[in-house]
């Protein structure tokens, strides 16, 4: 049993680089130079910057459900439980229907 993703996530024009630079400026971590698009400072490592962004992004998506993906799989006779895809945050709606 496996899920087939029916929609591809959109790619809007806010980039991780833009957000990283803004973070860097707001936290006064740019020093005497333009903020880097891959910042690594004495206080925050690059992985910490990215972890903070990813965590906030996931929380935002979880709270707002502004981007929704659809996935489908064929049901199996006599099977009542189905594991969700590994990257599933939250189920919004489920439908069952015959195909064809």
């Amino acid at each position: 049993m496996s899920w087939t993703l029916l929609t591809t996530p959109p790619t809007w024009n806010v980039t991780d680089q833009e957000l990283l630079k803004r973070l860097c400026y707001h936290l006064l971590e740019n020093g005497n130079a333009d903020a880097s698009t891959s910042p690594s400072t004495a206080m925050f490592s690059q992985s910490q910057w990215l972890a903070a962004l990813n965590q906030r992004q996931q929380k935002f998506l979880r709270d707002t459900a502004c981007v929704v993906a659809r996935a489908t799989q064929a049901s199996t006779p006599q099977v009542a439980r189905y594991a969700l895809p590994g990257d599933w945050i939250h189920t919004r709606r489920i439908t069952w229907g015959s195909i064809g």
Binding site: T7, P9, N13, K21, H26, D34, A35, C66, R70
Partner: protein, 236 residues
Amino acid sequence: MPYTQVTRAQLRGLLRNRLGNAAATFWRDDELNTSAIQPALRLFNLLTGFWKRRALFNTVAGQVWYPLPSSITSNLRVSWRDFPLSPSSFYDLDFGRPIWESETTVSGGDVPTQPKVYSIGALNLIAIWPADAAGSNSLIVDGIAATPILSTDASFVDIGQEELSGLLDCAQMLAVFKESGKELTEALEVFKKFLKSAGERNSILLASSTYHKFLGLDTLRQKKPYKLEGERLGAR
């Protein structure tokens, strides 16, 4: 046709004038571009839906769900072969017509012979009912466009000069976030001016209770408190 009146460099100069003499050393050019001007444009677009875009699809036979292009961040109006569709909610569709996803324009009975209703699944997804059985018909989505990115100093801000004052109010508030303290507190008044100018452009915003509350316009609750201050049980 986009506006070609003010470039990013000119807008940044106007912002520096507002921020004062120290601005040239306290804020870097890239910093103002990244942390003040571009976010102000995004916020302005979010509140007013200033930039709009139309997307044209061909329907696919029997397809209910249609992903939207990333050039549209929120949809406002959908039409099928130039017939406008009525907005609905999934709650209404699910509970009003439980098998709506299986119905097409040739289902017969009380199902219409052309799509009549659309519903918003998310920012990136819409559904139509009933699905177009034939396919290859035009589906037009009008929506709010993604905010333009000002990539160079010579890039023109696609906005009229009548909107510049409000936009600079917002950019000023975002810039002084770095200063924090009293400067930031005082800049909140400037930010309210930006919100008011956004409200003038978008009447939907004016109807929002959150908007009224933030601007301090929600005075009815203060005049008629539901509970008296210091109210306690027992004899008074």
